[in-house]
């Protein structure tokens, strides 16, 4: 079995990193010198790869960036895309601080609701709701291109959460954040599943990434542990390779697999058929 501790460590590392930037930026704005940890300042928009995606249109057409977006966002976008080409949506499952927060809340939800946790929305409904991410992505990209402003910025829950003390936060954004966090108590990674535009992009790469999660049907003991553990309710036990756009590549299915190695792996290439 693969221990999930490495993933937790990576998640916490990036969560703390973003928190440091957020606190530093807030300290800069408010003049709280004691909290200025970093010698430079970076707002949260500069640390989100989605900003790079949002500004692509204006960059290509006008050679300008959308307001509040900086070149760091573009760099992070490329980093995220490079990662997606290699590993699929691993950014979501291993790196995204907002996803990490939702997972933490999910543990609380699990304690509160037990087996009912992550089962409130029927699988079929969830299956269609996940396409809402693409609709939102399209709207965001369109409006950003139209207005030249960070359309999503005014209601992005990631930004709202980490810049909550900032004067830029609107009531709408706070409501969206509250609903998202509350939903995380009932449904694991609700935002990632149904609304995240960056997740929508990363998820597309699950279909073409170099490494995919593959199941060796010949060796599989059909315990369905992997399906039960999947936060996105993908039926891993019934598939030979996981290319669903909703897969976070978190590896929980891999950690849950009790069978010997080479049964469920994150790998490149197919399993040979064994008779």
């Amino acid at each position: 079995m693969k221990s999930p501790k490495i993933r937790y460590t990576v998640q916490i590392f990036f969560l703390v990193l973003v928190l440091i930037f957020a606190v530093n930026h807030m300290a800069q704005e408010k003049g709280w010198n004691a909290l200025k940890i970093l010698p430079f300042n970076a707002n949260l928009h500069a640390l989100c790869p989605l900003g790079g995606v949002e500004t692509l249109y204006t960059m290509v057409t006008n050679d300008t960036l959308v307001k509040k977006v900086h070149t760091s966002s573009i760099v992070l976008m490329w980093g995220s895309l490079l990662l997606a080409v290699i590993l699929g949506a691993a950014f979501c499952g291993w790196l995204c601080p907002f996803g990490t927060i939702q997972e933490f809340l999910g543990r609380l939800g699990k304690k509160l609701f037990g087996k009912r946790y992550n089962r409130f929305i029927p699988a079929k409904v969830g299956h269609y709701l996940q396409y809402l991410r693409f609709v939102l992505l399209a709207i965001i990209l369109w409006q950003t291109a139209e207005t030249g402003k960070l359309f999503f910025g005014s209601w992005d829950p990631y930004h709202t959460l980490f810049a909550i003390a900032s004067s830029e936060i609107t009531i709408t954004a706070l409501i969206i954040l509250a609903v998202t966090l509350l939903a995380s108590l009932f449904e694991e990674r609700a935002w990632c599943k149904f609304a995240c535009p960056l997740g929508a992009i990363n998820g597309l790469f699950n279909k073409v990434s170099l490494f995919k999660i593959r199941r060796n049907a010949a060796q599989c003991i059909d315990c369905a542990n992997c399906s039960r553990q999947c936060p996105m309710k993908i039926d891993v036990a019934q598939r030979e390779k996981i290319t669903s756009t909703i897969c976070l590549r978190c590896g929980r299915c891999l950690s849950a697999c009790p069978a010997k190695s080479d049964t469920l792996e994150y790998q490149i290439g197919k399993y040979s058929e064994v008779k």
Binding site: R7, N43, T58, L65, K67, T71, L82, L87, Q267, I268
Partner: protein, 354 residues
């Protein structure tokens, strides 16, 4: 068939981001904030400043002075409590739902202010046009900029909001009442210049490079970087603006003379804007090579140009000693003491220099 362990995944993640960030930093591409300091408020062809270029880092005072909006109208129109001080950043105004302006304002803070100002002044450009103009000027090379004298210079930097820089504050405060003796003059921006472009444009206009005042860069206040000064004042003039017919510089191609006064006026008035200008005062003016009176030009420097104290006293019918106008005092101090605005002082100085 190659499989990954979890530590491989972690390594790949760090490599992907480490490489991209590292390469971008080495090439100088990486930036988490505004690269250039200051953006200009563009004017449209009619000489109006572009309200859609207001930023969250602008203050209320900036808006009032640049667009010549009476404080009462502004406060009432946006339902801002009267005890909110003029140095409040626009981004701190969260009152979309409170605004009484009948427009399509749907956002709070800066958006509301932009819409309100656009409606109030009857801004003739659309936001899209303003954006296009911004983009066009951003793309222009320095040489292009120098030719387009009527174009307000802008940073070539993509429009972004540098809140921490609060750049725009510096935009010309057309506020003759401003009393910020130490505030830097418009010209004065150490280094601010948003751009070379500004200087080049300006130089071309002046042909002598003397009017550096106009480097349309506004001295940024200490906290942030200077912003380029806007060229001419908006058409809409208040009693304050008047020294010269400013308007449509664009139309006229903005001669130096046209611009100067306006610019000077702007420069001059600009001072007040909230951003704690003072710190930055090492005004440029004093560093100019020619005889180029600025608000921060000291009387000692004026005397070094051959203008005597007596001449100034006779002109203004005052006694410097009575008003404590020592040589260390600036032309701004003189203007304040005498009760005139800076362009008038400048005119006097220039006429005495001839």
């Amino acid at each position: 068939m190659k499989k990954l362990q979890f530590y491989h995944i972690a390594l790949i993640i760090f490599l992907c981001f480490g490489l991209t960030i590292g390469i971008s930093q080495l090439t100088g591409y990486w930036a988490t904030g505004p690269k250039k300091e200051g953006t200009t408020l563009l004017t449209n062809g009619a000489g109006q400043y572009n309200p859609y270029d207001l930023r969250g880092s602008n203050t209320i005072d900036d808006v009032l002075t640049i667009f010549n909006i009476p404080k009462e109208d502004f406060y009432t129109g946006l339902n801002i409590p009267s005890d909110v001080c003029g140095t409040t950043f626009l981004k701190d105004l969260n009152s979309a739902e409170e605004t009484t302006v009948e427009s399509t304002i749907t956002h709070g803070g800066v958006e509301s202010v932009r819409e309100f100002v656009a409606n109030y002044i009857g801004y003739t450009g659309t936001e899209q046009e303003a954006k296009n103009q911004q983009n066009a000027t951003n793309q222009a090379t320095p040489t292009d900029q120098s030719v387009a004298t009527s174009q307000p210079v802008t940073t070539s930097q993509p429009a972004y909001e540098g809140a921490e820089k609060s750049v725009n504050t510096e935009t010309p405060a057309i506020d003759s009442n401003s009393k910020a003796p130490n505030s830097t003059d418009i010209g004065a921006k150490k280094g601010s210049t948003t751009t070379q472009q500004n200087r080049t444009a300006h130089d071309k206009e002046t042909q002598q490079g003397q009017q550096t005042t106009e480097p349309k860069s506004q001295t940024a206040s200490s906290s942030t970087t200077p912003t380029p000064v806007k060229p001419v004042e908006p058409k809409k003039t208040s009693s304050e603006n008047t020294d010269k017919p400013t308007t449509a510089t664009a139309a006229e191609g903005t001669t130096k003379t046209n611009q100067e006064p306006g610019a000077e006026h702007i420069a001059d008035t600009h001072n007040g804007t909230g951003q704690g200008q003072q710190g930055s005062s090492p005004s440029i003016s004093t560093s100019t090579t020619g005889r180029d009176p600025h608000g921060t030009t000291t009387l000692a420097e004026v005397y070094s140009w051959g203008i005597t104290q007596k001449a100034l006293e006779e002109t203004y019918h005052i006694k410097f000693a009575d008003l404590n106008l020592t040589p260390e005092k600036t032309l701004r101090d003189l203007a304040d003491a005498v009760g005139v605005n800076m362009p008038q002082v400048k005119q006097v100085i220039e006429s005495l220099l001839k």
